[in-house]
């Protein structure tokens, strides 16, 4: 069962010295990312900090100019079955002619390989995943008829059905309603309880401390990374965002955070 976990590999995801540039402009500069197994890690940083790029590089979708990414100690290509991906909701065309259940079933394609078609077993796994995010009633809905939060939950169900060890999520909380936010938080905790690892790009600084155990502060370079209570300090946030960041809820044994608006 644990063949994927090489003994002595402390990190589920480990990126070393990642550097990546778009037309001479560095997007990631010598970034290290170390995600221990079984944690919920937020990647936080301003727009253009390279958060999505970091995720996409970890997934092997982008080739870094330097550095490498290892999943449980091995290259991504050997470990893709262990990694599930939740892209930004806006990255796909929701007018695509298909149902919520069919989108979730796409999560089983990796296990099927080329040509083989999803059957009853795959569909029942997809149905179960939809139920897990509270969307079983919407299985046959055309995906454009779903609200933003429901679409996000469909994407989460698709990742669940991949039955991975590591979940890489790009802004799962963006633009969702309170119900969905609750559902996602519950899901993240359930995943952690199962020993899974989650890395999520996150924008809402107010909820970082509440939702996540670990945080990586990123602005092209890695500013800081580690347990939220150690790393998520006003000092580090100022370094990340440049200038004063007001009104951020957080804890830390560094400088106490300024909670005034």
């Amino acid at each position: 069962m644990t063949a994927w976990l090489r003994t002595g590999d402390p990190f589920a995801v480990q990126a070393t010295d990642l550097t990546l540039a778009y037309q001479q402009r560095p997007v990631l500069w010598d970034v290290d990312l170390e995600v221990p197994q079984g944690v919920l890690m937020a990647i936080v940083g301003p727009n253009g900090a390279g958060k999505t790029t970091l995720l996409r590089t970890a997934l092997g979708l982008l080739r870094p100019a330097a550095g490498e990414v290892r999943i449980f100690g091995r290259p991504y290509a050997e470990q893709r079955r262990l990694v599930a991906y939740v892209p930004q909701r806006g990255s796909v065309d929701w007018d695509f002619p298909t149902t919520a259940l069919d989108i979730v079933t796409m999560g089983t394609y990796g296990g099927l390989g080329w040509v083989k078609r999803p059957g009853a077993a795959e569909r029942s796994r997809a149905t179960a995943a939809l139920a897990q995010v509270g969307m079983q009633a919407y299985a046959d809905r055309q995906i454009s008829q779903l609200s933003g939060g429901q679409q996000q939950r469909v994407f989460l169900a698709r990742a669940l059905v991949q039955d991975a060890q590591i979940y890489l999520m790009d802004e799962p909380f963006q633009g969702v309603d309170a119900t969905t936010e609750r559902a996602i938080v519950d899901l993240l905790r359930a995943l952690r309880a199962d020993g899974k690892t989650v890395v999520a790009v996150h924008h809402d600084l107010q909820t970082v401390a509440e939702y996540f155990d670990q945080v990586t502060l990123l602005n092209v370079r890695r500013i800081a990374a580690g347990p939220v209570e150690k790393v998520f300090t006003e000092e580090n946030l100022r370094l990340t965002y440049g200038g004063r960041v007001a009104g951020i809820g957080g804890r830390g044994n560094g400088t106490p955070l300024d909670m005034s608006p």
């Binding site: 037309q23 991906y85 990255s91 695509f96 002619p97 796409m106 990796g110 698709r158």
Partner: protein, 369 residues
């Protein structure tokens, strides 16, 4: 019908079906204009291959066409990747360049060969029955029917085998890549299929009709269903029906068959655009009108419910008050009151509107929403 007419119709239907299948994916991938480019630039592949094999019936021509089709895609993508030219502009640059090279080559070097640019644009399906496939002297029907039949089978088999990969790479290329289904491979595979289909089809029907048959039927089918397999099926049916309809239109008008078929595709699309049950313009307009009336009625009911039992009720519930309060034109106001009365939601007593119990229930339901 003569057997030549049957042959023409058969070729047309097979071409339409073969084009609709890759066309569906082009439409979903927002690459419709790529079919326009490919269906013209394949001519360069045919010309170059013809110079090599010197035989207009050689299958090498199809291979050459497919390669130049892929070259078109590669060049367009290379141009747009520079970030200096947008993709639609890149198509507009690459396609005339390759096509005009082909036209120059034909006009200067192959003047005495049966390869002319008019036939490329419009084709001449009427000649299809005269070019027979007759191995060992046994007549097996028009060559075009065999060629297009083979391409249709290829398209059907390819779509059946790789349906899940095509769907995934079209909907979410990033996930396809993360799961190990190379979206680039699927993309170029699809483009090769488009090229082969275009070259097979345009000998019979010309490149204009190829574009019409690849884009029109899927665009219409997209408005009729929200399931991909049904969209594929409907595209084939709409394409085939347009081909048959266009043939009879051509006979009626004594006009070019390919041009009439392309016209028929356009007419079919416009009919669907107007009359599609859910998304058609007529249905949408009707829905909006219905919503306007429903909304006006709900406003009236909520207004009456708000003032029910208050001192101002006498003033607020006069029919003529509604025009001022809601800024409704008089005749609109009268009709709203009339329909609400007809539905048993309000009654008029002493020049005052009163909610019926049913009207009160509906007002409450509307207000909650």
């Amino acid at each position: 019908m003569t057997s030549a007419q049957v042959d023409v119709l058969l070729v047309a239907v097979v071409v339409a079906a073969a084009c609709a299948i890759p066309g569906t994916f082009l439409v979903l991938r927002r690459m419709a204009m790529m079919s326009d480019a490919i269906s013209h630039t394949v001519l360069l592949g045919i010309v170059l291959a013809f110079f090599i094999v010197a035989d207009l019936n050689s299958p090498i021509l199809i291979l050459g066409a497919a390669l130049v089709g892929l070259l078109t895609v590669v060049l367009v993508e290379a141009l747009s990747r520079t970030g200096l030219v947008r993709e639609d502009t890149a198509i507009g640059l690459v396609f005339p360049a390759l096509f005009s090279i082909a036209v120059i080559l034909i006009s200067s070097l192959a003047g005495n060969v049966h390869l002319d640019s008019d036939a490329v644009l419009l084709g001449e399906i009427a000649f299809a029955p005269f070019n027979r496939f007759a191995p060992f002297g046994v007549d097996l029907g028009p060559i075009a029917l065999w060629v297009m039949g083979a391409i249709l089978l290829l398209n059907l088999a390819g779509t059946a085998l790789f349906f899940k990969e095509l769907k995934l790479a079209t909907f979410d290329p990033a996930l396809a890549a993360a799961l190990g289904f190379s979206p680039a491979l699927i993309h170029y595979g699809l483009m090769a299929v488009v090229s082969v289909t275009a070259v097979g089809a345009f000998d019979a029907v010309g490149s204009i009709l190829v574009v019409a048959l690849m884009i029109g039927p899927p665009a219409a089918a997209y408005l009729l269903t929200d399931r991909l397999p049904r969209m594929l099926g409907l595209s084939v049916v709409i394409g085939a029906a347009s081909a048959v309809g266009g043939y009879w239109l051509a006979r009626l008008l004594d006009a070019n068959i390919a041009g009439s078929m392309a016209t028929a595709v356009g007419i079919a699309f416009i009919l669907v655009l107007l009359l599609a049950p859910q998304r058609g313009l007529v249905a949408t307009a009707r829905r909006h009108r219905h919503q306007r009336w429903t909304f006006a009625r709900q406003m009236l009911l909520i207004h009456l419910a708000t003032h029910e039992g208050t001192p101002s009720e006498a003033d607020e519930s006069r029919p003529d008050h509604m025009q001022r309060h809601m800024r409704w034109p008089p005749d609109f106001s009268d009709r709203v009151i009339q329909t609400a009365t007809d539905h048993g939601l309000i009654v008029l007593k002493n020049n005052q509107l009163h909610l019926t119990p049913q009207g009160r229930t509906e007002a409450r339901a509307a207000a909650v929403r």
